[in-house]
């Protein structure tokens, strides 16, 4: 296997001119560094520019401005066939007139590799994907999951410097999706290939990635490990986009070393401060539903919604005029409050994240 390559994007910009002669900035001067062998996922709502960015890395879109480094080389103006990338498509994009073997062999044949080498490499990849028995099948005779495995094999066999994924699992059903994402991650780690993955499914992004890149309206909102993104979102967009979040108002009461003391409607909480705050400063803070403790008596609130979900009990309560979502884990044996009842709540120590 060749060594994996790094991918650097420098001031990358893509502006489309619509038929009405309007300018639409799909990707707005983004900078991104992906290390060799890293699994990076671009995550965002539809229209955020993630797919356009991926297609600029692959070469299907020419950047309006900026540089795309794959390894040491700026490939921004090169056509897709001249780049060291291979892509796995959302709808598999298998060649319907070729069987599995020929689909996988296609790129090697284009490179005019010797027949024996093609055969050996295709068979090795088929074995790795546990698809040896499928080599004579044509795409029309396979399920979506099988087709997507062929699509992955077809990309992997090229031993590209960078492997690109364009929402590859979104056409599969939920169960298969979880199975396939584990499989892709395992293969990626075994092979050690640099991978850039585009999805709008946050769970997928969390489960697979070394690095998650949250995009919105053509810019990168935040990048980091899944933990960083979930626990320390930099703004309300990221907080709301990843997982569920309650955003509440508060005031900085004091600073104590690396911690800040936050006053939420009269109650003080200590939590870590990742930025510099001044005493008396008005702030907004994120509290995840699972960070709210039922039974504490910091606040007495009215239950508006109470839903039993099995492994947890979900509440919606009126918290100073705004809705607060609460998720109480393992409700078996605990008091269940009904809509209309009063209950006491509080926040878990250090669970508040100040924005």
């Amino acid at each position: 296997m060749k060594s994996p390559k790094k991918v650097y994007l420098e001031n990358l910009n893509k502006t489309f001119i619509t038929t009405g002669n309007d300018k639409v900035v799909a990707v707005n001067n983004i900078n991104l560094k992906i290390k060799p062998g890293e699994f990076a996922t671009m995550l965002g709502p539809s229209g955020c520019g993630k797919t356009t960015t991926l297609r600029m890395i692959a070469g299907f879109e020419m950047p309006t401005q900026g540089k795309v480094y794959i390894g040491e080389e700026n490939v921004a103006t090169k056509t897709p066939d001249k780049r060291d990338t291979a892509m796995v498509f959302q709808n598999y994009a298998l060649f319907p007139h070729m069987n599995v073997f020929n689909n996988i062999a296609y790129g090697l044949k284009i490179q005019k590799r010797p027949k024996s080498e093609i055969k050996e490499r295709v068979q090795r990849i088929l074995k790795m994907m546990k698809m040896e028995d499928f080599s004579e099948r044509v795409p029309g005779q396979m399920s979506g999951g099988q087709q997507q495995r062929v699509s992955l094999a077809r990309a992997l066999v090229m031993e590209p410097g960078v492997l690109l994924f364009d929402e590859p699992l979104s056409n599969l059903d939920a169960k298969l999706r979880i199975h396939m994402r584990d499989e892709i991650r395992k293969i990626q780690q075994n092979v050690g290939i640099t991978s850039i993955y585009v999805t709008h499914d946050q769970e997928e992004a969390m489960a697979m990635s070394d690095k998650v890149i949250i995009m919105n309206a053509g810019v990168i909102e935040q990048e980091g490990t899944p933990q960083e993104i979930y626990q320390r979102p930099v703004n309300e967009f990221v907080a709301n986009f990843i997982g569920r979040a309650n955003i509440i108002d508060g005031e900085i009461e004091g600073i104590s070393g690396k911690d800040a003391i936050v006053n939420i409607h009269g109650i003080s909480y200590r939590t870590k401060a990742y930025k510099n705050f001044q005493t008396g400063q008005k702030i907004r803070a994120v509290i995840r539903p699972e960070g709210v403790i039922v039974g504490k008596q910091d606040f007495i609130v009215k239950v508006e919604k109470s839903v039993f979900m099995g492994q947890n009990q979900e509440y919606g309560v009126d918290f100073f005029g705004a809705n607060l979502e609460i998720s109480e884990n393992n409700p078996t044996g605990k008091t269940i409050y009904r809509a209309g009842e009063q209950m006491g709540i509080g926040f878990e120590e250090r669970a508040l994240h100040i924005l």
């Binding site: 692959a58 897709p80 892509m87 959302q90 994009a93 060649f95 319907p96």
Partner: protein, 566 residues
């Protein structure tokens, strides 16, 4: 009991249950029986009559007529002529059609709307317009042959003229089919190949073209069927190059040799139906496009000048040529004596109006009667095929589709044989002309009706049913309004088709009812190209006015209906 017997029993029971269920619904029963009677009387019975006539000699069952007709060396030549012409025209038409389709689906070029318009033109114009303008350009007194090149003995009649005329007439068939297929190839399949290192040329060779092979075969066969069934062009411009469709007419009507004529008709029918079956059930099913699924995103159009410029140049010049061919006929109608005296004159129109307005009135009147009848019938049949289960459903589906493959001359000859004796004497009446119009236009209406109905969730109709509407009420208040676009485009198509129909009705015109198309034919035959042009111009004018009026009414109707709904 064996499982096979059990299966058969279950099947019979299902059919019986279907019949019982349908019997409870008088509208359905009447509709189903009515359609079967119509199909039998005007599709099957005429064909049976032809077959019977061809197989009887002096009241004896024999192959005499086949032997007689095939003994003639001229028949073998005609047979070969038909197939040879079909092959050449199909190859060239498929290539040109593909070029246009590729330009439209893959290239970033201007004038795509014009290419589309050019492709639709032959479908809304009388079939011999191109033949007529070819004579005006390349005939003995042709503008190019005589006027520019100064040739005295130019002969456009024959194979070369036919190839030119048929290609220009039929390549749109290939284009429309191929452009649909090319547009539905998922661009990501080609992107995948690019991504794996294939250059643009390699992608075309190894992906696009192989994916299109079934489509190309399909286009080839469809054009072939049209070419061998074509009557008017070989009649007008074939010269000594006779084809089967023409010979059926000459043998049956010209020589009063019904035995020979019917034998030829059966031969032509067998070729057509065989090719149609291959197209529909073998090649048609072998499509890769359905495998790739719906296109996930719009295709990045190719804007490399090296590729776009030459293709654009070819497509543009071809379009301009075709456009000119159509413009030439109205021009020719106002020229005093084409090839000799190019001054403006209304003589041809004066001649036409002196000869009488009857064919003009008859054609328009009969077409206007046929139009709603064909439209409604087509929608009823489409509805029955898509939505209902009944005994003989697949038979109905196959025969109504097969009507597409039956050459017009064959069915025309069948009508003459079937309906000039008792019990049902229809020849010479307006009825048989109207029936011919309906039967020749209905298959297309059924097709678009089926396509439209398949897009609509049956639960919408079921909802109306559950709310208390009878099946008649469901059909008129829910189904028809939902497939309105298909219904109205069916109306427009029927009218155009009726106004311009030649092959079937050439057998059926009489002193009582003469048609415009037949008048054009006889004027060309008499060498009166100017008068023929004038007739054609009037025909095109009426078609344009009526189609425009229909569209106007439809748009008004559309507003009214949506007002009620709102």
């Amino acid at each position: 009991m064996t499982s096979k017997a059990a299966y058969r029993k279950l099947k019979i029971k299902t059919e019986l249950d279907n019949i019982k269920k349908n019997m409870r619904d008088p509208f359905l029963t009447i509709a189903i029986i009515g359609v079967f009677i119509i199909v039998f009387l005007f599709v099957l019975y005429p064909l049976i009559k032809i077959l019977k006539e061809s197989l009887y000699h002096q009241n004896q069952l024999s192959l005499y007529h086949y032997k007689e007709i095939l003994r003639l060396s001229s028949t073998k030549e005609i047979l070969w002529n038909t197939i040879y012409l079909g092959l050449i025209v199909s190859v060239i038409s498929t290539i040109i059609g593909f070029l246009f389709a590729y330009a439209s689906a893959y290239l970033k070029i201007r004038s795509k709307k014009m290419f589309n318009a050019i492709a639709i033109l032959p479908m809304i114009s009388p079939p011999f317009v191109i033949a007529l303008s070819t004579i005006l350009l390349f005939g003995r007194n042709g503008f190019i042959t005589r006027g520019i090149l100064g040739m005295r003995e130019a002969n456009v009649y024959g194979l070369h003229g036919l190839v030119l005329v048929q290609t220009l007439t039929f390549f749109p068939v290939a284009y429309l089919l191929l452009v649909g297929l090319l547009k539905s190839i998922d661009p990501s399949v080609e992107e995948a190949a690019r991504d794996l290192g294939a250059s643009r040329g390699e992608v075309f060779k190894s992906i696009t073209l192989p994916l299109m092979v079934p489509g190309l075969a399909n286009a080839f066969l469809l054009v072939f069927i049209q070419s061998i069934a074509d009557f008017s062009n070989p009649m007008v411009i074939g010269g000594n190059y006779t084809t089967l469709a023409v010979q059926i007419y000459l043998q049956g009507i010209g020589n009063y040799d019904m035995g020979g004529g019917t034998a030829l008709a059966i031969i032509l029918l067998m070729i057509s139906v065989t090719v149609f079956m291959i197209q529909k059930y073998y090649v048609g099913k072998k499509s890769y496009i359905t495998v790739t699924g719906k296109a996930s995103r719009a295709r990045e159009l190719i804007d490399t000048p090296k590729i776009t410029k030459p293709i654009y140049a070819i497509a543009l010049s071809l379009s301009i040529f075709v456009g000119l061919m159509y413009a030439l006929v109205p021009i020719g109608a106002f020229i005093r004596l084409w090839g000799i005296d190019y001054s403006f004159s209304l003589n041809h129109f004066r001649y036409v109006f002196n000869l009488g307005m009857k064919p003009i009135k008859d054609t328009t009147f009969l077409s206007l009667i046929a139009t709603p009848l064909s439209g409604v019938l087509a929608m009823i049949i489409a509805f029955l095929i898509v939505r209902k289960n009944f005994f003989g459903k697949s038979f109905m589906e196959v025969t109504t589709m097969l009507a597409l493959a039956i050459p017009g001359t064959v069915i025309g000859l069948g009508y003459v044989l079937s309906y000039n004796t008792k019990p049902l004497v229809l020849t010479g009446t307006a009825a048989i002309l109207i029936i011919a119009f309906i039967m020749r236009s209905m298959p297309i209406g059924i097709r678009s009706g089926i396509a439209a109905l398949q897009q609509i969730d049956p639960s919408i109709e079921e909802a109306a049913n559950v709310l208390g509407a009878s099946s008649t009420k469901v059909f008129t208040s829910i189904t028809i309004p939902m497939i309105r676009p298909a219904f109205f485009s069916g109306l427009v198509y029927t009218f155009i088709r009726s106004m311009t129909l030649v092959s079937t009705v050439i057998f059926l015109v009489s002193a009582r009812y003469n048609l415009l198309t037949a008048s054009v034919m006889s004027q060309i035959d008499a060498g009166k190209i100017g008068v023929a042009s004038a007739y054609s111009t009037i025909l095109i004018f009426i078609v344009a006015v009526v189609v425009w009026t229909m569209q106007f009414i439809i748009s008004r109707l559309g507003i009214d209906i949506s007002d009620i709904e709102g």
